[in-house]
Amino acid sequence: MTTLASAPPAAASVEPDSGSRVLTYSEAVREALAEAMTADERVFLLGEDIGVYGGAFGVTGDLYTRFGAERVRDTPISELGIVGAAVGAALAGMRPIVEIQFSDFTAQAMDQIVNQAAKIHYMLGGAANVPMVLRTPLGSGTGAAAQHSQSLEAWFAHVPGLKVVMPTTPADAKGLLLAAIDDPNPVIVLEHKLLYRTSGPVPEGAERVPLGTTALRRRGDDLTMVATGVMVSRCLEAAESLAEEGIEADVLDLRTLTPLDDTPVLTSVSRTGRALLVQEAPGHGGFMGEVAARIAGSDALYCLLAPVRRLCGLDVPIPYAPQLERACVPQVDGIVRAALELAGS
């Protein structure tokens, strides 16, 4: 069973509870990286412009001055090479954390991610493992157009041997990343660009958020919203206004796609009978198809009062024009509309 986890930025006007303070999502990531490097000298960072520049999105910030050029290692523009170097360093006992500036550029490194990192442990019959983390920002909303705005989480979720994490709150950005760094397997951590500047309470300590636990962000009996990435806060906003119309929604944040904790989803849908699955990525072949299939493949099916509704990004490359870009991915008003239709049906 899931308990009500701390709400994400959008809804987080709350005072931090004792032992935690308000940090931005980037600060939370940075804090996790710093704590991991302090606790374990095998941990090091490599990536393009993560050093004195502080990272394309400023996430590594001052880590370069704090930990030096050896452990906060700037690299040439060679995604395949640096991910491969991380695989080799992991095999040799280190705990590399690679940053890829935009998740779109994981395309350059797919061989090392998919054919090497993901498979080595199994392919070698367990004789070796690849404890590495690949951090990369995904998503649209920055006006960077089609080659800098994709949400490719479904690719990684479909690769056996990879764990896939999508933190949506500063607390999770830290806690899930720490868990990913502990993990003896390759873990892909997909951070959302639009969340970097959002803030929320983050525990002081080195509390881990275990991989594979879906978080219930809001409680309601009329429908179930399942979301990932920035869509979680949009669903919470939508749920707020729905509440004003007397419609109460469960809002579930998957947090990790692999391993996927689908029990809270199935339990919630069995209770509400209505499922609204919201993702930023294009719908066709997207991960919410997996979630819909889990629902349709379980006894929750018998509790459905309406067809499972997916609200996803349009099946288009993200355009540059702001109004077109917005029109391509679910916005709060669209979520509200879809929820009303669903609740009304």
Binding site: I77, S78, T142, A321, Q323, L324
Partner: protein, 331 residues
């Protein structure tokens, strides 16, 4: 375009005029972009090539109609030098329906198929294999046109560069590889990114000629690229031309310039490619002070008009937002 690679760009008045005006249009266009962005009238991110006008201008001056280029994320200069319409470029940056990409692409994806610009590219080194393919098409059709691929120093460490260079070499393709070495890939200096002195040294690894030129000397770039273009057109295969230059502005909007000194930037501002060419043509008497003043004014005016017209144009139209993904199957 298409000055013979023999003549210097600064010797003959018409050519000198065109060359200087192109460089000024690039400069003014990007200053306008910088300004619009700063005033919040332009969104997304921008990569400005201010300070690098000579490499774009000199290289494209060596091309003819029918030739093509592939460009980069820092591609405004290439696009203008290749003869693009300033208004349609500005309209694209302002996300207008009249823009080159109808507002779908923005700064990193401007293409102008008519003038042979196969497109800027948001992917570092992404355009190099594409240039090789466009050159392969020309060779297979036995055309005598060539393809020129612009890319940066940072791009030379991508696998795409390596694979494309080798394909161009073994197939002796009519392609010219122009590496604009502006000393940095974002914040990473060429001293750190390479264990060699000149990127042009890499040409030998593929069995192609390589040369390094003063990238802020538009005549030197034109001469070196012109020679490479002649070689390609003659069927003698590809060349790697490295143009040493410098970007005055930050890498993009998020750049705090922490990786370089004010002094370094200043020293390169003193090597302004435009001022340098003006001095040359004045000293040679190819142009007069009045000519130069007129050209500056004309460039400023052209950019002003472009901004005005672009602003007046309709915003990108969501009409075919979904249906535009696939080209229709011909009847």
């Amino acid at each position: 375009m298409a000055e013979s690679s023999q003549d210097r760009l600064g010797d003959e008045a018409a050519t000198a005029r065109r060359t200087l005006q192109t460089m000024w249009e690039i400069r003014r266009f990007e200053e306008a972009v910088d300004d619009l962005f700063a005033r919040g009238l332009m969104h997304g991110t921008m990569h400005l090539s201010i300070g690098q006008e000579a490499s774009a201008t000199g290289a494209c001056a060596a091309l003819r109609p029918g030739d093509a280029i592939t460009s980069t994320h820092r591609g405004h200069g290439h696009c203008i030098a290749q003869g693009a319409d300033l208004t349609r470029m500005m309209a694209e940056l302002l996300a207008k329906e009249t823009g080159y990409c109808r507002g779908r692409g923005g700064s990193m994806h401007i293409a102008d198929v008519a003038t042979g610009n196969l497109g800027a590219n948001g992917i570092v080194a992404g355009g190099i294999p594409i240039a090789v393919g466009a050159a392969l098409a020309r060779k297979m059709r036995s055309e005598d046109s060539v393809v020129l691929s612009f890319f940066g120093d940072g791009a030379a460490n991508e696998g795409a560069f390596h694979e494309a260079m080798n394909l161009a070499a073994i197939w002796r393709l009519p392609v010219v590889m122009v590496c604009e070495n502006n000393r940095y890939g974002m914040s990473f200096s060429t001293e750190k990114a390479f264990a060699i002195a000149h990127i042009s040294e890499r040409a030998a690894a593929y069995g192609m000629p390589g040369v390094t030129v003063e990238g802020n000397d538009v005549e030197a770039v034109h001469a070196a690229v012109g020679e490479a273009v002649d070689r390609a057109r003659a069927g003698d295969g590809p060349t790697l031309v490295e143009a040493e230059t410098y970007r005055w502005k930050g890498h993009s909007k998020s750049d705090k310039n922490l990786y370089r000194t004010k002094e370094e930037i200043a020293s390169w501002r003193d090597r302004d490619p435009i001022g340098r060419f003006e001095a040359v043509v004045l000293e040679r008497g190819t142009l007069t002070d009045t000519d130069v003043a007129e050209i500056r004014e004309a460039a400023k005016q052209a950019v002003r008009d472009a901004v005005r017209e672009a602003n007046a144009a309709p915003d990108a139209d969501p009409a075919d937002l979904v249906t535009g993904v696939f080209a229709g199957v011909p009847a």
